[in-house]
Symmetry: D2
Subunit: 373 residues, 4 copies
């Protein structure tokens, strides 16, 4: 510890200068990797070092693996922002253009210049939130027993502001939204312009269509809450109906599909990515069955997003969480506390976790925003 | 299988006569124990056999252990109903009076006549519910993903009917009702006559009082959803406030306590049993610290009850479930599916399990019944 | 109910003849769909009816959706077995060859003859298991609190028998096997011939390689149980190491990978299917990124399997469960009771659920089979 | 912030002097309450203030509510240690003797001098653990997926050291220990002197006796893992057997009870507290049915304890956690991650959480300590 100056107020900056020594280069690297995301920078900084990717989809051995924080690299003495913040990626630079971007391993081409080691990299840690921010007072703790009404009001206010400012809200949607009877609320939020991107899988699409065609979800009558005889085949018939016409859009255009989440998303023209999984029946023709292509489209859909609502979809929510920069606000809703903890506690990003029903959450949110289901 | 006649319609009775053999008496006893609750009766029936209790609180070795089904015993050739149906008890008979009642082991006195063996006992299995009954179509399955609105409507309808007919509804209440902000709804249900007995522990009482005095529950401001500085001591101060005046009733009468669940229960004059546990701080002076005495008072409060709502209180709900006859309708609400499965799946009684928030459940129920929080 | 004859012994067959009426054809269909899997057959049977598939990957509207039970169809008066038993598929027949097979919707070609309606179909319900079978006494109940040693002994005995008879055992493996330190036991089971197929995802492969190369799993030192500084990047470096050489097999052949589950599976030459998901980093070059192609290869790997061990891998286990005929024995192991219930309670197949660690399960199983980790 | 000096090494002390202002006394009190447990002391310190308890079992309004950290009070200018560290209690002082002790509200007598306000109180925060301590590297994280072998070795080493030094280990035991077949291991640990106090409830005692008398636990044969016909009554018969002779000790002395946890605890003469709950059947005559008396005896049993193992007993474990000073080492074992998180994350005390079976934990611990089941 060479020097320390602590800020006198909550907003004032603090400064510390430390001398770091290590028995060998690998340990020094490990220490730099740990302190970098806390905002530490090597004082006597140098330019980045790079090495060429040895083949398509593979990286040089000593590649720098990114965090989900805003990052800059020093090239020819200049600090350059790195595009496409996301964790566990490589940084590929274009020395001539003076540009740098994060890229997944699988998309790096042979010969591209990949950043190696730790020189010339700095990371901006997240600033502390104001204590009156809904994302500040909730993110400490996940509990099913806390009052949720006020938090949902805070989320609604945030969403109203984002709609006014032209912000982007993404919803990651699981099939429990349909099973629990909450889909009309999500459909209404989309219709009224509160959602700019919808991410999900085959299940939410299939059950939404089953609900639109038969009034059931996995054979359970949503209005009555009871099983329908013979209803366990409805989801296969729903899948077949859409496969016969070729796409969800065609089904909407031909008047086969007239209500539900899919209909509103298609009518509103928002971005929709349905990503496949090995559990899928069918699947819906709109489902992207290649997971790497699905990730690519999810990344594109998430570009510039301000807030993500993850509702009862563990697989898709964790996948989306991995793709997000740390400064995107995340609301994670699930009835399983372990899932909420996992989603809300992914390191640095700003998350609110709510242990509750899809139905309760979407209805309260919808009522707070004044939409009509 | 000596003879079988299957009823031709859903309501018709079926009849089967079986010959049961076993290598020894113990095995025969074990078989009779298994088939008794299914409604089987020994054809060539004899009177019961009894033996005297060897000391206070202990039973003869071969005592008959009860089920939670309606039971009759044959005394001097007459079938006599056994009072106080509850599982795992002994049957004590008064031969002179021709009366029989179930009693917990701990309340049997030395010398009382206790039924032993399996002769002279018959058990009435529960009749199948009509398929339109809310308790019929829900009790097969516990899932957080099912639509709940319709089920809660069904429960409300049942409660409205019970209030009209002078039936008895018991609520088993956990502290999450207060933490989640749902206590005004429960208070309103009590005020409007929908609840005849309230069972709970020290925690629900303490947090209800904390809420009434400070607006917090475990230091969290219920209206704002955020922690209050120094609020983690509020529950100790709430306990002390009531201990200083001697009882919850005294606090109501002196105007110290003016709102909340406890206030409405005391004003409405309903039966209230607060049972202690080793986790308790304080406790509230009204808490029964001896668990056997608490069981005794819970049994008395449950006598003649038509429906029990178990809301977010695992310990008390399991205890109450053990005390109930099989034909009492039970609604088990908890956000933890394992708890709901445990409560709703206790053998034969008629239970609906809902995996959801206290807040969602009580608000929807309150709205369906038109009460004002 | 026209006639009923109940078998007098546990093994004797019972017979009932019922007359079924319904207000309309759809209701009749729904009833036939419900009673078919119970073993009911239409007495006055006719041949199946078929309709041509309207386009590639889509079915005629009234297609028959299969169960996971052995099925026969009547063609030209003859009962023909339907190949490839699996639920929620279509039956495609080749009238000239007199052959029938189940096919997923997505693989049916335009014009193929697809069975529609319910005529000419019969389903064989599963026979009851002998009461001494390990799969009989366990499958009623899933609980973390039951003694497991005896059940694991029973599974070991079954596996020993299968190895002797040349049976097929498939393991569905999740990454917790590596995290919990159990991978040497699984590797040993594979090496000693107890496993014929290995199904998993990118995570189990990545962490197995990370463990082989660095001794860590997600940065945690498996031998010491503590985090390694800088270790959170090990999984990305493990992925990159294999991507650089092109495949797991190449890494084994070049001596880069010398121990672990992947090594033993490749050396033993067993079938291995690694199916992709949208959560995947990398992925390993051996991962099948198209989920429909992955399902195809999983189906092939499962053909003729006698027993499946599903160990701590919810997504893959549910996917495999969907692909299995009802008579395949399934052992579902997870520390989360809800997952075990979901896996073990999928209708008719014969399942044992164990709520426990990967480590405990695999070590006890390995010790019972005498393998060396 | 008036002054700050940061220690240059991990062991060096840091020092900060702050000026705290607040708009009113209540806010100042709230701030002092927050910073006290962090080790802050009022510089210009004064003696404590006290007020007499207004009645038996009640405190003056402004009573100081304790933390579970070592505390000192200033009386006549001298700092005096406060005995019986435990959170949420009052401090009662004897001015003449210059002594102070923490007391539960319910045990304070009218007129005793109770500390009020915040003057004259200082609290010693816990020192950081050495990074090589098993309690240091585990307590950050609770996960079912981490390797446990090494941690259990560390606990065994700690227990071996405690036995050598004459330390005190307390086990809080739930009935799952018996259900899962682990009771012989716990019995052996007691026999070999590794346990000095056993805390539990009626259930663990009842099922231990059931196991000793019938080989079953809740009717499940522990050796075979399958249900025994008629076995669901065994626990009632076990209870009755002990009630007939009057106590567990009498049953041991009369040779009725010859093996199991209870037998070893009685033979070894260790402290045993069985605390009642409203769920209890019977109960065993040794169970303390008054929960306040049970707390009193639990407090006495925990006096001077060095380490507590909480095994599969949520209610008793939480109760014990509330009674412990922060510096007692706690190992919390449960198969439910939420329970482990709740137990291991109770603020300041030093806890290791393990998500696993009672059986796995106790067997590995027993093997590591070389005991014979």
């Amino acid at each position: 510890m060479v020097e320390i100056r602590v800020g006198r107020t909550r907003d004032a900056k603090s400064y510390a200068r430390l001398k770091v020594t290590a028995p060998d280069a690998a340990t020094l690297d490990a220490i730099l990797e740990l302190v970098g995301p806390l905002g530490a920078r090597v004082l006597d900084n140098q330019d980045i070092r790079t090495a060429p990717a040895p083949r398509d989809g593979a990286l040089p051995d000593d590649f720098y693996s990114t965090t989900n924080l805003e990052t800059q690299v020093r090239m020819r003495g200049q600090w350059v922002p790195v595009a496409n913040t996301e964790m566990d990626l490589a940084i590929v630079v274009d020395g001539d253009a003076g540009a740098a971007a994060m890229k997944p391993m699988s998309e790096v081409k042979a010969g591209e210049a990949v950043v190696v080691g730790h020189s010339g990299i700095r990371v901006t840690p997240l600033a502390r939130l104001s204590s009156r921010d809904v994302f500040s007072f909730m993110n400490s703790d996940v509990s099913s027993e806390k009052p949720k009404a006020q938090v949902i009001q805070g989320i609604a206010q945030e969403m109203r502001g984002l709609r006014e400012r032209g912000g982007r809200v993404c919803v990651v949607a699981g099939p429990a939204i349909v099973h629990s009877g909450a889909s009309p609320w999500l459909a209404a939020l989309i219709r009224d312009g509160y959602v700019q991107a919808l991410l999900g899988g085959n299940a939410v699409a299939t059950h939404d269509v089953e609900h639109a065609l038969y009034g059931t979800s996995l054979g359970v009558d949503i209005a009555k809450g009871s099983s329908v005889e013979g209803g366990h085949n409805h989801h296969m018939r729903a899948l077949n109906t859409i496969r016969r016409v070729g796409s969800l859009r065609a089904a909407v255009e031909q008047g086969i599909l007239t209500q539900g989440i899919m209909v509103e998303a298609i009518r509103a023209g928002i971005t929709m990515v349905l990503a496949g999984s090995i559990r899928d029946d069918g699947p819906m023709p709109d489902v992207i069955t290649d997971v790497i292509e699905a990730q690519r489209q999810m990344r594109a859909a998430l570009r510039g997003v301000d807030m993500v609502l993850m509702i009862c979809s563990m697989l898709h929510s964790i996948a989306v969480g991995n793709l997000l920069p740390a400064n995107v606000r995340v609301v994670a809703v699930d009835i399983n506390p372990s899932v909420v903890v996992k989603l809300a506690d992914r390191g640095t990003f700003q998350a609110v976790g709510l242990v509750t029903d899809a139905e309760l959450f979407l209805r309260e949110l919808g009522e707070a925003l004044g939409v009509r289901p």
